[in-house]
C-alpha cells in the first residue's frame, strides 16, 4: 500500500523532488491549497475516508497522510 500511496501523492504534488514516507510536507513547495483538496478528493474517492480539513493542515510528513487514509 505504501508504494502505491507514494505514487498517488507524487502525482498530486507533481513536483521534481524524490519523495518518501519521511518527507516533510512543509519543505515541499507544491504542498499548497491545490494539493490539500486533491488529497481530500483522493482520500474520499479512492480510500473511502472522510478526512477533516483541520487534520490535513496539521500533518507533518507524507507518512502522516498515509495514516489519515488507513
Amino acid at each position: 500500500m505504501e508504494k502505491e500511496f507514494l505514487e498517488k501523492i507524487a502525482d498530486i504534488l507533481d513536483c521534481e523532488q524524490e519523495l518518501s514516507m519521511e518527507s516533510v510536507l512543509a519543505d515541499i513547495e507544491e504542498w499548497d491549497s491545490l494539493s490539500f483538496v486533491s488529497f481530500l478528493a483522493m482520500a474520499n474517492a479512492t480510500y473511502g475516508k472522510k478526512v477533516a480539513p483541520a487534520a490535513v493542515r496539521e500533518v507533518k510528513t507524507i507518512g502522516d497522510l498515509l495514516l489519515l487514509v488507513k
Partner: protein, 333 residues
C-alpha cells in the same frame, strides 16, 4: 424538496460569453508562474478564462443570450410571462435587475420579474421556480436567465479564486409541454461561510478591502461535493426508479475537473458520463450547466441529470428530457 412537476418542456437554450479569453497565467498576472499554471491546469482543468470587460455586466451577457432566442423566434418576446434572473452579480444593489431586463428586452409590463441570489446550484433552483410557474398554469412561457461575472468579485492577490472563475450569461425558455421534471433541492445553511462575500454593509461592515471579495474554503467545498452531492443524486434516482447507468448524461456544475472526476468515482460512473468541458471558460457559476449542454451530442440528451452544488451551501438536481430542446449557437460580446 424532492418532487416531480408535470406539463413542461425546455424548448430553447442560448449562451453568451465575453470575447476576452486570457490564459490563467496571464490573467493571474504575477500570482503564478507558467510552471504553476500548468500544474493548476492539470488539477483544475482550467487553462483559459472568459473575462468580461468593466462595462459588461451579467445582465448584458444574459440579454445577449436572450436576444439570440428572440431573433430566432420573432413572436417569443411578446409571449414571455415571467423572467427569472439568477445571479450573484446584479447590476445594482437595488432595484432587482430583472425589472431593468424587462424594459431593455422589451417584455410586456405584465411580465413577472424575480431576481434570485444563487450561484452554482442556481440553474436548477431557477429551473424549479420556472417549472412551478408553468406547471401551475400561472405562466405559459418563462425566460430563465442565469449567469455571473464572478471575475469582478475576485481579488487580484487571491490565487484560489483568480485562477478558476470565468464570466458567462445564459437564457433558457421553459414552457407548457408534455414532459415531467423531477427535482431534489437541499440546503446546508450551516456551511454558509464556505463560499462567501462577507461585506454586505449590514451583518458585517468591514473596512478590510478583502471582505468585499469572494472567499472560498476549497477543502470544505470538496468534502461537501463528495459526501452530500452523491447522496442527493442517489435520492432523486431512487425517487424516479432510475438506475444510475440509465442516466444518459450527468450535467454537473463545472466547478473544476478534479471535483467532477472525483464525483464520477463516488457515483460509480465513467468519467465521460460526468463531462468537464469548461477548460477554456472557467467556473461560471449558474451558467456552467447550460454552457456544458452546448457541445453535447443529441443522443445523450434523453435522460439528463442536472446537478448544481455550491454557495449556500446548497444542492439542486433534476432529471430532464432535452431531446426536443433547441440549442442556439454561442454568442460572444
Amino acid at each position: 424538496m424532492l418532487n416531480k412537476l408535470s406539463g413542461l418542456m425546455i424548448t430553447k437554450v442560448a449562451c453568451a460569453l465575453p470575447k476576452d479569453n486570457p490564459s490563467v497565467c496571464d490573467y493571474a498576472n504575477g500570482l503564478i508562474t507558467e510552471k504553476e499554471a500548468k500544474r493548476i491546469a492539470r488539477g483544475t482543468g482550467f487553462e483559459r478564462l472568459r473575462i468580461s470587460p468593466d462595462n459588461v455586466t451579467t445582465a448584458d451577457l444574459c440579454m445577449a443570450a436572450a436576444d439570440v432566442l428572440f431573433n430566432e423566434d420573432k413572436c417569443l418576446c411578446n409571449e414571455i410571462d415571467a423572467v427569472i434572473f439568477v445571479t450573484q452579480t446584479p447590476d445594482y444593489y437595488l432595484p432587482a435587475t430583472s425589472h431593468i431586463i424587462q424594459n431593455r428586452l422589451g417584455l410586456k409590463k405584465e411580465t413577472l420579474c424575480f431576481d434570485i441570489n444563487e450561484g452554482c446550484a442556481g440553474y436548477v433552483n431557477g429551473m424549479y421556480l420556472s417549472a412551478l410557474l408553468v406547471s401551475s398554469k400561472q405562466c405559459k412561457k418563462v425566460l430563465l436567465l442565469a449567469g455571473d461575472t464572478i471575475s469582478k468579485i475576485t481579488t487580484p492577490n487571491d490565487r484560489a479564486t483568480r485562477c478558476i472563475f470565468g464570466d458567462a450569461g445564459t437564457a433558457t425558455v421553459i414552457e407548457t409541454g408534455i414532459d415531467d421534471i423531477a427535482f431534489n433541492i437541499q440546503s446546508y445553511g450551516d456551511r454558509y461561510e464556505t463560499i462567501i462575500v462577507e461585506n454586505s454593509r449590514h451583518r458585517i461592515n468591514l473596512t478590510d478591502e478583502q471582505s468585499g471579495y469572494l472567499q472560498l474554503d476549497g477543502m470544505g467545498i470538496m468534502n461537501f461535493t463528495l459526501n452530500e452531492v452523491p447522496e442527493n443524486i442517489g435520492e432523486i434516482l431512487k425517487f424516479m426508479h432510475i438506475d444510475k447507468r440509465d442516466i444518459s448524461l450527468y450535467a454537473c456544475h463545472q466547478a473544476n475537473r478534479l471535483i467532477l472526476n472525483s464525483l464520477a468515482e463516488k457515483l460509480g460512473v465513467d468519467y465521460d458520463k460526468v463531462p468537464f468541458t469548461a477548460n477554456n471558460i472557467g467556473n461560471t457559476s449558474s451558467a456552467s450547466i447550460p454552457l456544458l449542454l452546448q457541445g453535447i451530442d443529441k443522443d445523450r440528451l434523453k435522460k439528463v441529470l442536472f446537478c448544481g452544488f455550491g454557495v449556500g451551501l446548497t444542492i439542486g438536481s433534476c432529471i430532464i428530457n432535452l431531446t426536443k430542446t433547441k440549442f442556439s449557437e454561442l454568442v460572444e460580446i
